[in-house]
Symmetry: D2
Subunit: 305 residues, 4 copies
Amino acid sequence: MTLDFQAILDAIHKDAIIKKNKGIVASYIPELANISDQNFGIHLRTSDNKEYASGDYSVPFSIQSVSKVLALAKAISISNQSIWKRVDVEPSGNPFNELSLLELENGIPRNPLINAGAIVIADILISNLENPKKDFLKFVRTLANDDSISYNKQVALSEKVTGFKNYAAANLLKSFGNLHNDVEDVLDFYFHQCSIEMNCSQLSKAFFLFANKGKCMLNKTHITESQAKRINAIMLTCGFYDEAGEFAFEVGLPGKSGVGGGIVALLPDHFVITTWSPGLNKKGNSLLGMQALERFTTKTKLSIF
Amino acid sequence: MTLDFQAILDAIHKDAIIKKNKGIVASYIPELANISDQNFGIHLRTSDNKEYASGDYSVPFSIQSVSKVLALAKAISISNQSIWKRVDVEPSGNPFNELSLLELENGIPRNPLINAGAIVIADILISNLENPKKDFLKFVRTLANDDSISYNKQVALSEKVTGFKNYAAANLLKSFGNLHNDVEDVLDFYFHQCSIEMNCSQLSKAFFLFANKGKCMLNKTHITESQAKRINAIMLTCGFYDEAGEFAFEVGLPGKSGVGGGIVALLPDHFVITTWSPGLNKKGNSLLGMQALERFTTKTKLSIF
Amino acid sequence: MTLDFQAILDAIHKDAIIKKNKGIVASYIPELANISDQNFGIHLRTSDNKEYASGDYSVPFSIQSVSKVLALAKAISISNQSIWKRVDVEPSGNPFNELSLLELENGIPRNPLINAGAIVIADILISNLENPKKDFLKFVRTLANDDSISYNKQVALSEKVTGFKNYAAANLLKSFGNLHNDVEDVLDFYFHQCSIEMNCSQLSKAFFLFANKGKCMLNKTHITESQAKRINAIMLTCGFYDEAGEFAFEVGLPGKSGVGGGIVALLPDHFVITTWSPGLNKKGNSLLGMQALERFTTKTKLSIF
Amino acid sequence: MTLDFQAILDAIHKDAIIKKNKGIVASYIPELANISDQNFGIHLRTSDNKEYASGDYSVPFSIQSVSKVLALAKAISISNQSIWKRVDVEPSGNPFNELSLLELENGIPRNPLINAGAIVIADILISNLENPKKDFLKFVRTLANDDSISYNKQVALSEKVTGFKNYAAANLLKSFGNLHNDVEDVLDFYFHQCSIEMNCSQLSKAFFLFANKGKCMLNKTHITESQAKRINAIMLTCGFYDEAGEFAFEVGLPGKSGVGGGIVALLPDHFVITTWSPGLNKKGNSLLGMQALERFTTKTKLSIF
């Protein structure tokens, strides 16, 4: 490859920061509302361990739903078979009726990357980890090879105080027998998981195993090659709420977004790329992040399709 | 009228107790599961203050959802106008998607007699009553002119421990801003309200105001004539889950059923009739109670249609 | 009764015609769009055969969905039992998803007064009548004792050319095996049925049997007393699309509206009342008609509740 | 690559034909019902123009929904931008409510590979092609470099006579203004399109352009590289009804199935693979075809993830 990745990232960064429409920063908790929409970071880590970055790539932010992929990886590494009796792998289609689908389908969430599915994964982790919050954080730190990564307890608390829809989902799961632990315990773990703060660089590292057949950047095997492929498949079909099809169509990479404005995407055997821009589009995905990734794959012609 | 009500009730009672298919007694909490399906009571109170009864009409049972009509009456008597911004008056049609409809319609329950709607009514009562549980019980006792009526605290507790779907509904309402008090406080009230124990005779008395232009059996006005009519309209269109149309079609009276096996129905200016038989049909309404009321209106030709 | 019905109707008429907001006249076919929203008629026929009327009560209009009740009565008079295997009697709740419900419930329409249900009733009539269109018209003429009543063939044709949603419903019914005749034949009958033109006076006569235990104004029995009651129950719970609860709540009478601006309502053993005002509210029911009937039952205190 | 493709295909074939559970052959039209479930063909065409095959790979079958991808390609080649205002690119999630979603989303089909979406694509082709059926067939013949490919008029006729659900969808689209031509004309084209008969070998050729940046096997450019990628993205997220996630998860290739038992899948820049086995699983996809492809990608480790 003779692509000048640094020049491409710089050009994307340069264009992004002058865009007038930067989307709307999530405001349902103060910790997110206070983040400036002027932030824009992008970070690329290639399979030959080179790194390229531009902008605010080293500023930590709340990874939120991006954490769902890491939790899924941990759960799969522990009890792969038992998961798929409790969560499906199909796209959810439409967000307006997340609880509706759960009702219609007897408490089996459509996939592990929507909230209801991630809550079931959290339940599985609680059942299987000795010290759930501590052990999960350790897993993330190991993947990213960085012990400075932590929960933001204030964010977790704010989510708890305002997270009525997640309480509704957890109780509905419980009513269908698809939550084995206490609602409070599961959501406490879930809100902590989502509160993890990382920067673009750390996320590119932490997701390296998905582009590397299950081996993290220190070459340790955490999940099998087959499991890594399947998680990539789930990211592609389910990683962007009801914009998953759009992201596959426009960008063509497995990835996952979070309401904190982060997006991680990857091309197996080639690279992991992370963007951060807090302003969201109407579907809840980072507006400039989506545009940056679309531009990156268009320029480089690097996509799974 | 030259109808021999006593003979009619006796005949209905006699036929009911020999029916082989008595339906299925609710079993989600031990207090309900332990009730024998052999119980059958029927009680009629006419507008000229005569009473007729047969069978187990003086055995107290858990009134459950029948309480929703009494709670609605209390709420209407306090703050009629504010209610209808928060709850609609349309039939819900279908039970499979109670939470779905709530999601689709932005947290406005279809009517005050489905669980979500009754939870909003409970919220309104908590906001407006000084001592919600005490005051509501006093209201019911006054209506029935009977101070022996009480909550069954064990039933309330059991509902609390297993009521995950109600927790889901309450949290979903909260997420839409349609619950002003704490979820726990509202559900504590709601579970107590449903746990009230009354017998057929007491229920016929307590519902007398709906057949009597808003005046209770002691002739005290609790709601206006217009309010009584509207509550009757809501009972007719929404009182039997997704069997409301069937009940209107077969029986033709405003009424309300509960999972404890009770049904109260009434013909304005004529009578209130209460049945109790714990076995339920597939839609969750008392099997023999439905049959008894259908037979009563067929025999007497007394219905609103 | 010492009510001065004529004075009440005159007052309602007087107030109605000066209302600024007269609703929106249906415009999907030219024949309806061309009707002036200034028309307002009201007609009352009591059980003792007295008539009271005001305004444009003798101007014919397209009865549209009001015809569904007459078709249902004819079908019930022919083959009562077979109907209820193919159509339910529950309110549909919500109009946004008429076809959705049909899909979910395997081709069994919620009730005979929504389009899908009325199409099944039309199918039943075609299967059972020798000359369906001729025989049905004769039935309506007999009920109203008026041979001048006719189909408006131009309206029927316009409906046919634009009625894609009805074609969708009929084909969906057919795909579930709940349409026995050809889609074209059934819809041809259905569009003719809806195209019947009548005035308020004729409608009050034609619906007299529902207020008179199944006997028409000439005292001939067309349906049994029990069947009349059940049709009334269906009108009350299902007669006004997703405003059925509202109509029961505000007016408290069984009734049926049509997109041509007509509404017929009745109090068993007391009266039939018909209003006509072409402007519709957001739910598709006559705006001034609804208000007129609400006012009528409030003033006279005559309702089923 | 030192993979012995021929040996792999032979092994897959050998195992497939001895499987006891071969799924259920579609039976809604006689032409499909009469196909033996003993057929099994598999054909691989690599980017370096080599071919490998086993079993009944040269027996023609009804390609049915596989044709939707070819129709989409033709439509994109003609009027790319106008398509996406009329069809979305999101997975549909759930098949039970295909018409429901269409209703909820105001006549915009979720994607071009569900029936409603394919009907809109057919409408676009009719509006843009001079001789729609002739021109489309020519396009398919050109892609496969094979003039022997034809419609099966008997199959098209059978679909027409029984395709009530497609008539329902087309009429619903028309009611929303999202069908510009006559329902009959559009469905006539659509049923013909689905009736095309091809064998595995021909399909591998016809789909070659999607694995080859838009150029067919004769190196002629029909669509741009970017368009080819996007069609692949749509196949991956939407190509297998509500089993799209499962196929991505288990197989990891863009692909499309048809009710005739065919599946075409591809790895960009590497190969196109086609299987045919008429027995379907519960979701309507070829049972043995799905298994064969899962085995193929597991053995070769060739997938997009």
